[in-house]
């Protein structure tokens, strides 16, 4: 009853909805491994989405917009990092404040300005795009998607194989021990937040100048929180985190596709679906004791 074409459409929209999550999740994953619980990933994505559209409109280049999105993510990561891992202000409070601030600010700015629509170009890969069912969803994409092919392994390598990553993991598990070993705990956490900011910014910018081509109010609609849920779902392992992103992306795609397929459901209920899924996933997968032991705990030399 559901045609192959429909499946292909749902798959393609699922993948497109997964991409922004995957970028941000690579960042959030690395930050959390360093013990930095980064709630402000939502602010990073939303701020970057706005910034990319505004910059693209001003310069006429969607690619410049993408770069601007990364810079805004970095800026928010820098602010968050310095407030919580230099001045030792509660990281959750800062995250929530930043999220509210960026939401309010972008909502205001979008009402007082108008932007031209720009979108990054599409790349379709010959031969591969002709594979039935998955060909079109996987191999006809906006070009930034293919950055993931580099960024995912790079993130993994940084965390699991590089010295920087070894130190990040040490800092996320036992910061006191890392400190006496000579690792600058809060510096590593600030650096991790910068990485997270850059990637979450890329995710948000991709959503705006990649997928949609414009900015609308609260366009990330809690995707930052979904990313945090994906990292928990993934039990702080990168592969499972990305599977989590795909799951949430597909759920989102189903929401959009079901009415088109003739299945009528209350639309408000459908909007809730991915979040409900996130909640359920956390319920079943959260308690695995894989969490970095110092996640969300501030570090101050000399305490304990």
């Amino acid at each position: 009853m559901i045609a192959v074409d429909d499946i292909s459409t749902i798959l393609s929209s699922g993948i497109r909805l997964t991409i922004p999550l995957a970028f941000a999740a690579c960042g959030e994953y690395l930050a959390e491994r360093a013990g930095a619980m980064n709630i402000s990933v939502e602010a990073m994505m939303l701020g970057a989405a706005f910034g990319s559209v505004a910059t693209a409109s001003a310069t006429g280049s969607a690619t410049t917009g993408l770069v601007a999105g990364v810079l805004i993510g970095l800026l928010i990561g820098f602010v968050h990092g310095n407030l919580s891992h230099r001045l030792e202000i509660n990281t959750f409070v800062i995250g929530l404040v930043l999220n509210a601030l960026v939401l309010g600010l972008t909502s205001y700015l979008i009402t007082v300005s108008s932007f031209e629509s720009h979108q990054v170009s599409q790349v379709s890969i010959p031969w591969l795009r002709d594979i039935p069912l998955i060909g079109h969803p996987l191999f006809v994409e906006r070009w930034p998607v293919y950055l993931l092919i580099v960024l995912v392994p790079l993130t993994w390598w940084l965390v699991e194989r590089s010295r920087w990553g070894l130190e990040l993991r040490a800092v996320g598990e036992q910061p006191q021990a890392a400190d006496v070993t000579g690792i600058r705990v809060n510096l590593r956490r600030r650096q991790a937040l910068l990485w997270c900011g850059a990637l979450a910014g890329l995710g948000g910018a991709y959503l705006a100048v990649g997928e949609v081509g414009s900015f609308n109010q609260n366009m990330t609609a809690g995707r930052g929180y979904i990313v945090i849920a994906a990292v928990i779902f993934g039990a702080w392992r990168l592969r499972r985190t990305l599977i989590g992103c795909a799951l949430f992306g597909l759920a989102d795609a189903m929401r959009l596709a079901l009415p088109a397929l003739g299945l009528t459901m209350n639309s408000q209920l459908l909007v809730v679906a991915p979040y409900l899924l996130a909640l359920l996933a956390m319920l079943f997968f959260a308690n695995q004791n894989r969490e970095p032991r110092a996640l969300g705990q501030p570090f101050e030399r000399g305490s304990t």
């Binding site: 010295r163 130190e167 040490a170 598990e173 036992q174 021990a177 006496v180 030399r301 000399g302």
Partner: protein, 527 residues
Amino acid sequence: MTEDERARELTPPSAPALRLRGISKSYGPVVACDAVDLAVHQGEIHGLLGENGAGKSTLMKILLGLVQRDAGTILHHDGPVDIGSPQEAVALGIGMVHQHFSLINPLTVWENVILGDTGKIDKGAACDQVRDVSQRYGLPIDPLAKVERLSAGERQRVELIKCLRRDPSVLILDEPTSVLTQAESAELFGVLRHVVRSENRAVILISHKLAEITAATDRVTVLRKGKVVFQSATAETGPQELARQMVGREVSLGSEAAALGLLPVEPPRTGESGTGKVETSVAALRLRGLTVTVDGVRVLSDLDLDVAPGEIVGLYGVEGNGQSNLGDVLSGLVLPDSGSVEISGRPVDLNRPGALHAAGLGIVPEDRHASGVVLDMSVAENLVMKSLNAVSGRAFVSRRKTHEVARRLAAEFNIVTPSMDTPVRSLSGGNQQRVVLARELSAGPLVLVAAQPTHGLDVGAIEDMYRRLRDVASGGVAVLLISTELEEVMALSSRIAVISSGRITGVLSTGEATAERLGMLVGGVAA
């Protein structure tokens, strides 16, 4: 050691590896180090002796760049140096084996060993280096093992390997034997002797145990209240002198030996009801088949233990063998997987919060700051916390009654405090511990569990605690003393149960307990 060797050590060679001049450090009004002078020479083990809070740890933190000094100079091979960070300390060749907090448990041995280095990671080379160092010093370890799976002794080896791989000229060890069995301690001191004699390094051994200092060091410095009060070649002094310097008054080694970390000459009798009555009377505290799993690791397995009214049973073992988990179970903090706790023959429903307290079990918990007292609440509030019904009406807590009770308990237990409204945080460790003890005993318990009751206390406070525990037992309360200090257990208990890897490996009466037999049991070998 021959006479020649000893003579050579007594005339220290040329320039000291490390010299401290007038090092001072204050935390607000508290002076931790007061113009400390110290010279550590190559080729010798320098003992740093002092009570808790004497300033030993602060001094070492200054050497490691973890704390910045207020005044004074540090000379390294006669050149003044500034140690602003742990990295700079490493660069100067100062390495430390920490008492706690230095290995990252989820990482492997080789990852831990190279942590803090710079440059590209080379796993193969790192593993080879670990094997190399471990062979050279006779410290067998698998470089690929995860630290969380290692025993305390093995972790200590990793710490040593991590330090020695960096070829330090000065090696600092902070209370290194607190988590080790006697055999492991012997191994450690063997390695230390080797690095000092054959490799001409300088070692600083920090301890509050007299026996350890007199046995293992060449020179000794005693710190008291942040000041250097005594320095000597170890051979020219003795336990009596060192004890006097450390405490600051004449002490009789007979009665206070345990508090100073020396085995008592003869184990004192504790109370009238000793081992003989245990079989006949109903046990006040009966533990059966207690099994606890934490993070997938079985920390207590099928643990049985009885304590009769009026006796003190010492649960002795090296730190990390399940005794703190037992403390958690008896505090009601952890629910065991299986097993039962009976108090005077009645099983206690561990699912119900407060059931143990209601059944008549009082506890002096191991970590008094985390679960013994509420630091920012007043002395009075802490004292009545577990018996609020007695000081409140229908809805409100009576301030008058609270203070009445608190004043009575403070007088009875010699709690020194400016007022009943003073926050417990500003009391000394000994007085905080008295607050806990007073509160627990005021409920009239049948059983008192004292977990590491003298940790972090000074000698006076330790003696006081010992006296009170003996009094409690002779009043008919069953006392379970959980301790990692052999001397403490020997001095107080009538029976000693040894715990190793979460099991009781043997129960001895104090009379038949010798250091050797206990040592074997601690190592998990039935004696």
